[in-house]
Structure formats: C-alpha cells, structure tokens
C-alpha cells in the first residue's frame, strides 16, 4: 500500500478529511479489503490513544439524569398520535375491507440489511434507523383509458366539488401531523439546551448574588474608610514627673460623637475626689466635660464617654482630679493626664 493511501487512511480515522474527501475514500475502501484492514488497525490505535487520556469520573447524578431523559422520551413517544386514521378523516370508501382489498404486490416490501460498507462514520451517526430498505413494486402497464375532458366525464363538475374539500382536509391533517412530529423533535433538541440555559441562569443568579455581596462589602469598607478618617486616637501622658508610669489612650469617633478611654497605672484619687475627662475644641472657650470615671484596684480605667456638647474637632484630651460628681469646668488643681 502506498504512503499516500496510508496517509489518507490516517486522516480518515482521525476525522480530519473534508466530506468530499471522506466520501471518495470510502468508495475506495469499499473496493479494497486491504484498506479496510488498515483502517481497522488505525481505529484500534486511535481508540487506544483516546483511552490513555487522564481519567475524569462523571458525577453519579449524570447517569440518573440520562436515565431520566430516557423516561421522558419514552413518555413522549407514548403520547404520539396513533397511526390509525380517525373515521372523521377517513377517505370515502376506505373501510378495512377496502384496505384489505389492495393487492399485496402494490405494497412496498421491506427487508432488513446491515449498513452499507461505505457508510461514513459521520453519516452513520446521524443516520436514522435503517433497518428497512425500500423495494418498489413491480411495474405493470397501466390499463388503456381513453382520454376524455373532465367536463365530459360521467361525474362531471361534481367530481371536483366532491373531492376538493376532502383533499384540503387531508392536506391539513398531514400538515398537522407533520407539525406535531416536528414539534416533538424540536422538543428533544430543545431539552438539553433548556437545561443548559437553566444552569447558566442559575450561574448568573449566583454571580449576581455574589456581586451584590461584594458591593455590600465594598460599601461597608468604604463606610469604614470614611469612619477611619473620623477616628482620632490620642495618647495621654502625665504632664509632670510625679506619676511617670500613668498612661491613657482615647479613641474618639467624631461621626458618632462617642469615645473610649483607657488608662493604666493611675494613683487612687484622694477621698472626696474623682477623675474627670475633658475634651478641648476650638469651638468652645473652655474644655468640654466628657464625664467622670473611677479606677479599679490595679489603677486601670476603661470608660465609654460622650461629651456634654457636640465636638467639631477635638484638639486635646485632659484628665483632671475633681470633686466627686465632677465639675462644670476643670479646676486644674491636679492635672493627671494630657494628650493632643
């Protein structure tokens, strides 16, 4: 066998020939048993190569889906129109007796035969069940009927008026049946497409939902970023050296107009006195009261505070020792902590 033929056999098996080339090759193959054997050998090699792809297991649910699809198709098949013609649409004189009176030689014969050798794979895949081969009835000379114009016939003009409505009815029925089967076929084609569209819709919904979540997250982060701009963290320390280890931190949320104050290593206030937190804002001539607080046994304090007056821009935090219950304005007799 020459190289060119072997090349064509390889291209044929790998499915890369054009339809015309494929057809020509199949004709050649039908005449050459050696070529058939070569193609069979190449097919085995191709299948082995395909069998060596990395294995991927289909999900178990897929089998259920495919089996269910068979059920749906079987159910549809059962619903199809019965082959018998309803009496309403029966042709005049078409009784069972009339049907049985049709001579057997007028009926086409069918015989079962395997696929022809030269049938291409692609053709075969799209090939409808071909178990029946049409064998036409033997031709017989028609009986000689003398020509006569329609108007001169014995049935005359009544012939058309009688047959025409039946012919139209039959055409409509045939058309309707064709439409019905076309619709069923379309349903079969549409079924997987619909499933795919549904999945894509589902995916789109999931993506849409995720997008919304992300948008919310971004909005939240933007909000937080804005909030961070409004947050002020101020470290407070003792103004003198009499209590070097005392330390305070104030976290102020200007937008919420609230804050948290933490302090450590405070010295217990004298009897009848209390710590008081102040905030300084250029809007006001005197410090704004942010509340009194106490320390625990370890000298620590942790308070949430809210000033008496709205703060535009805090410039300093001050902690002073004031008479129990607090003062309207700081006495500055004992300045404990200061931060800006």
């Amino acid at each position: 066998m020459d190289e060119r033929t072997e090349e064509l056999a390889g291209l044929y098996v790998m499915g890369v020939l054009t339809p015309a080339e494929r057809q020509a090759f199949e004709i050649a193959m039908a005449r050459n048993p050696g070529l058939v054997a070569l193609v069979a050998g190449f097919r085995t090699v191709r299948d082995a190569m395909a069998g060596a792809v990395p294995p991927v297991t289909p999900p178990p649910v897929l089998k259920q889906r495919i089996m269910a699809q068979l059920d749906v198709r079987a159910a549809r098949k059962k619903k199809k129109l019965p082959p018998a013609v309803s009496p309403v649409f029966a042709w005049p004189g078409s009784s069972p007796a009339a049907e049985s009176s049709v001579p057997p030689e007028a009926t086409p014969k069918v015989t079962s035969e395997p696929m022809p050798e030269g049938t291409s794979e692609s053709q075969a895949e799209e090939f409808e069940p071909a178990e029946a081969t049409y064998v036409p009835p033997e031709y017989t000379e028609p009986a000689q009927v003398p020509y006569a114009p329609a108007r001169a016939r014995s049935d005359g003009p009544g012939f058309l008026s009688f047959w025409f409505p039946w012919a139209v009815t039959a055409a409509v029925v045939v058309w309707g049946i064709n439409l019905y089967f076309d619709r069923e076929e379309l349903k079969d084609r549409v079924f997987p497409l619909t499933a795919r569209v549904n999945r894509l819709n589902h995916l789109a919904n999931v993506l849409c939902s995720q997008t919304n979540t992300l948008q919310q997250t971004v909005a939240g982060l933007s909000d937080l970023t804005g909030r961070v701009d409004d947050l002020h963290i101020v470290l407070l320390g003792p103004p003198g050296n009499d209590l070097p280890k005392a330390l305070g931190v104030s976290l102020w949320d200007n937008q919420a107009q609230t804050g948290v104050f933490l302090a450590q290593n405070l010295r217990p206030p004298p009897p009848g006195e209390q710590f008081q937190l102040w905030m300084m804002d250029s809007l006001y001539p005197t410090p704004v009261n942010a509340g009194v607080f106490s320390m625990d046994d370890s000298g620590a304090a942790h308070v949430h505070f809210k000033p008496d007056r709205p703060i535009a821009s805090v410039t300093k935090f001050i902690v002073t020792m004031e008479p129990a219950g607090g003062s309207a304005t700081p006495t500055f007799k004992d300045l404990v902590l200061l931060g800006q």
């Binding site: 090349e7 085995t44 794979e121 895949e125 178990e131």
Partner: protein, 188 residues
C-alpha cells in the same frame, strides 16, 4: 481487547437498539468514564462535558440499532460520537479558531505514569503501556495526532496552527499511527 469482550459489547448495543434499559445502563457503566474523560479532554469544562456525555448517550440509545460491527468496536463507535459531539461543541461555543488555537497551545503531553481506568483498556498495565507509547512518540507526530483527534480542527487548520505544510501534517499523523500500531500490538 479480547474478542469475547467485543462480542459482549456488540450484544449490548443490539439489546440497546431493542430498547433494553438494563443493557443501556451496563453500557453506560462500562464506557461513561472513558467517554467523559475524552469529552473533558476536548472541552476542558466539567459542565459542558457532562452535557456532551448526556447527548452522546441519547444518540447511543437512538442509534444503537444502526451500529454494525464492520464500523469498528462499539467503544470506538461511541468514542467517535463523543469526539464529534465535543468538537462540534467546541466549534459552536468556543468562538472558533482563537480558542481552539489557545486549546491547542495548551496541549500537554500527559504523563505516561498517569493511570487510566476505563473499559477500553482492560488492565492498568496495558493502560500504562499505551500512555507510555503515546508519550514516546516524537513530539511533532504526537501533537499532530492530538490536534487532529482532540480539537476537531481541519487538516488545513492544523497545518496553520503547526506552521507546517498540509503534506507534512498528514505524514506525521500517518507516522504516529503506524508507530503506535507497532508498539501496541498485543496490548490494545
């Protein structure tokens, strides 16, 4: 594959053609792994490979009665259906040459050590032998064969992708098939 197994598969297809659901189920169990692997290899998308497999088994159910042993083994027939359906999918849904070229660029020779378990290849050792034989092919031959079978490109498109004349591509495919046939004698 040995002869009795082939006859069993043929018998399965005959029964499927007669509407035997049990035979269909058995055929599915036997070949779904292989066919799905091939579809996935071609499309590289799980969901779409599932769709292709579903359509292929629909075709098998409807066309089993048209199968004739002259057209090769049942597994080969089913493989051809799968390959054609998957490549049709590629053409239709992956926007033509650009993605195909991308897919071909991503062609990777699979490791010879990668184990496969499918009905076509009956034992692990034969699978490994086949994979090894494929991996040992010269790269130009292997690539031409893989492009031909797994991408659905035409001969001229393969020639364009490989920047080689059509004649050279044909010769490589032929050479690869002949080499594999020699190496796989008694294995596949």
């Amino acid at each position: 594959m040995n002869q009795p197994a082939m006859y069993n598969d043929v018998d399965l297809l005959r029964r499927i053609g007669e509407g035997d659901r049990q035979a269909f189920s058995r055929f599915y169990d036997q070949y779904a792994g292989l066919l799905f692997s091939v579809a996935f290899r071609i499309i590289n998308e799980q969901q779409e490979a599932e769709d292709v497999l579903q359509e292929v088994f629909g075709q098998i159910w409807h066309q089993a009665r048209t199968y004739h042993p002259r057209r090769g083994r049942p597994s080969g027939w089913a493989l051809t259906l799968t390959r054609n359906k998957a490549t049709d999918y590629l053409r239709a849904y992956q926007q033509g040459a650009k993605l195909q070229e991308q897919a071909s660029a991503e062609m990777v020779v699979r490791s010879a050590a990668a184990p496969t378990a499918n009905a076509l290849v009956r034992s692990r050792s034969s699978t490994e032998l086949i994979a090894a034989a494929v991996a040992e092919l010269p790269q130009d031959q292997r690539k031409a064969m893989e492009l031909a079978f797994f991408t659905g490109l035409t001969l001229h498109e393969i020639s364009a992708v490989l920047h080689e004349p059509v004649g050279a591509v044909s010769a490589r495919i032929r050479g690869g098939l002949l080499k594999l046939r020699t190496r796989l004698e008694g294995v596949a």
